[in-house]
Amino acid sequence: MQRTHNNRAWWLVLPVVIVVAFSAIIPMMTVVNYSVQDIFDPSTRFFVGTEWYREILRDERLHDSLIRQFVYSFAVLAIEIPLGIAVALSMPRKGFMVSLCMILLALPLLIPWNVVGTIWQIIGREDIGLYGWALGQLGIDYNYASNPADAWVTVLVMDVWHWTSLVALLCYSGLRAIPDVYYQAARIDRASPWAVFRYIQLPKLKSVLLIGIMLRFMDSFMIYTEPFVLTGGGPGTTTTFLSQTLTQMAIGQFDLGRAAAFSLIYFLIILLVSWLFYTAMTHQDSDDA
């Protein structure tokens, strides 16, 4: 759309800026302030410059947790994106079933995150949970509380359960926007179902997939509540992701300076990745126009 140049539009944006800035800029400044000081108590604090940053960048525990986080986020994307597309392709075309499937698919998205953790905490247990019990009956020695691999897989399956619907609903809305003429042309050309998918549906899904990948990457990179409820980060540190390491540091050990420096580095990583996605997306928009 052709937009006219008008700086008075700032007046319309101002409320948003005020509301968001109150919750974003003041806390951010506080974090910056903390990150350059060593704080013993509110009245005893020393300026330490960039010492916390240097320490953070050398901290083994954080490297481990960062690597775990990246591995986890990529595993989430690698499973949820293809599965989401498959589910979207399997949606019924019309009628009452569409609404039903949509509501059922959206169900996991509406459950508070700690309840999601609780649900999986229950169903994964070998004594009172159906899935844990079934695995035990199959002769698989499964225990998410003591076996690191089991814990990691359980957190991953939980995330797939929780969020694949988002990708599926996104892709479904993308698929619905494809005009019928494309399919008619494909029928005339006797295109195989795979060719229809590869050359018609997938290219048309590009923009929604980009949104889906971006949202899933961000949210899985910030995951906190679900693994915290399910495994508490354990056994050991197998499922301790970045947010949890950070919260432990800030609240548990009250290591304010270090936690603040860590927060800023965390934020910068997210910012960098968001910028890449945003650039890709606006680029995409201008391609379409």
Partner: protein, 266 residues
């Protein structure tokens, strides 16, 4: 082809619904039965777990507290996001692209980063332990999302409509409230749904910013863990009750929710 489709859908929905089913039936079991062995249907159907929740103020107030900050957040988000989304969809202005990106970065800020400063900020302005504090804190990620979705929906409305209205002598507020808003009603519904959803499911900030007066249900649920172990039945009942508002809300926007998930861009 269709049978394969139906098979994929059925298997996926089974995978999706079995854990929820398990939670539901567990909420109707007694703790002895839950721990005693695996039953697919409650042997002694009991409402005791629900009775605990509905008779104890510290439980049901948790639901009311959660609802109050969620609704408050929804109203604030929509009120500030509507004019801003209009500005982004209709005008170019100094720094618009940077502003839009800045808003998005807040959607992507890990809540853990803001825990401590939020606590101090809201304590210092005297909002700590009120629903308003949580509602404002949730604006951090809901307002950018609301602007994003609404902008997508508004860009779908041809600009000629605005121009015709102005020629017909409509003032901006009158045009916006009586003509424009009714036109993007589905978009507003979907945005409200998303604000509701993300505010309802969030726990970390809600728990940090409240202590007793405005404690959300998600934080109350941690009470079921006591010295004698976890009270599984009550925990399941409390979890099951958190599903209801979501189901009610999505029913109203089911026809537009797909477009909303694509952030109004399809």
């Amino acid at each position: 082809m269709t049978t394969r489709k139906r098979l994929v859908m059925t298997i996926y929905l089974l995978f999706l619904l079995v854990p929820i089913y398990w939670l539901l039936i567990m909420s109707f079991k007694s703790n002895q039965e839950i721990l005693g062995g695996l039953t697919l249907w409650p042997e002694n159907f009991t409402f005791d777990n629900y009775r605990v929740i509905f008779t104890d103020p510290s439980w049901y107030m948790g639901y009311l507290n959660s609802m109050s900050y969620v609704v408050l957040n929804m109203l604030i988000s929509l009120a500030v996001a509507l004019p801003a989304a209009y500005a982004f969809s209709r005008y170019r202005f100094l720094g618009d692209k940077h502003l839009f990106f800045w808003l998005l970065t807040n959607r992507m800020a890990p809540p853990a980063v803001f825990l401590l400063p939020f606590f101090q900020l809201y304590s210092s302005v005297g909002l700590f332990d009120t629903p308003l504090a949580v509602a404002l804190a949730h604006c951090l990620f809901n307002v950018p999302l609301a602007v994003w979705i609404l902008e997508g929906f508004m860009s779908g409305v041809p600009k000629e409509i605005d121009e015709t209205a102005y020629i017909d002598g409509y003032s901006f507020p009158r045009f916006f409230l009586t003509l424009f808003i009714p036109m993007i009603r589905p978009g507003i519904g979907v945005t409200a749904f998303f604000c509701f959803m993300f505010s309802w499911v969030e726990l970390l900030l809600a728990r940090t910013l409240t202590s007793t007066e405005a404690k959300p249900i998600a934080a109350v649920m941690t009470r079921t863990v006591s010295a004698s172990g976890i009270d599984w039945g009550v925990l399941a009942a409390a979890g099951a009750l958190t599903l209801i508002p979501g189901i009610l809300v999505i029913y109203f926007v089911r026809n537009h929710v797909a477009k909303g998930f694509a952030l109004g861009r399809v």
